[in-house]
Subunit: 147 residues, 2 copies
């Protein structure tokens, strides 16, 4: 299945939504085997006070109880951290699409070594929004990645 | 800091609570540097429909936004899966106490290779309750670990 630009568009929309709410600007979507978006989400640390509410985790949460995880693709505006990577591996996804990894490189190597196919888009919108966040709210970012 | 048996007692109480609610019988607590339990939780997949609600994740969630993660110890009735391991690594915890790993061996090796100190208690209560769950609700367990 070729990459549909609407997936990263929606993930980026989620990131912008979070940013406009004063939150961390990272968004994600889960896509099924025919290319439909089955769930979306953004980082909710600021909005809900939940330290595990990274965009990808929120996306898995919003997808609910299902048994077709292995057919799904996760699309995130930023390279997934070790928690989100672990979640992806737990559910056995085979494919991950990353908006950018210039501002943060997560655990892509662990995904690859477990047979997950990772594609990095280096999407300019994702890079710029994350860069702005890192300049304006460095401390919030440090908190989000456990530093 | 030596291990206080009240930590696994409370984690087991959480597991029993979930089991009595028809849920998955896995519980966890987070302990601070002076041995006080700062949060607790149990698997909530059945209760809330959230596929990411493993006991350890719920525990991190319930601990809220804080900056002392590296001083905390997570105590779980069962060996943490790759998602819960990733969460533990993200927040930089240095110590994990596992009730048992006979019924399920999670990603302990990944924790150890990242410098986390893992202690396995092989607590008989934890082993028996998990065994009973595996016999009575095998399919629910498969769902919980993404199979």
């Amino acid at each position: 299945m070729t990459i549909d630009s609407r997936w990263i568009d929606e993930a980026f929309f989620q990131a912008e939504k979070s940013w406009s709410e004063g939150g961390i600007p990272i968004g994600a979507v889960l896509v099924n085997c025919v290319g439909e978006i089955v769930s979306c989400g953004h980082n909710e640390r600021v909005q809900s006070g939940d330290p595990t509410a990274h965009a990808e985790v929120v996306c898995f949460r919003n997808a609910g109880r299902r048994r077709d995880w292995k057919e799904l693709t996760i699309v995130s505006t930023l390279s997934p951290c070790i928690m989100c990577t672990g979640t992806t591996l737990l559910f056995g996804l085979k494919r991950v699409i990353v908006g950018e990894n210039k501002n943060f490189l997560g655990a892509e190597a662990l995904m690859c070594s477990n047979g997950v196919h990772v594609t990095v888009l280096q999407d300019e919108r994702c890079i710029e929004l994350m860069q702005r966040f890192l300049v304006e709210k460095q401390d919030l970012w440090s908190e989000d990645i456990g530093q």
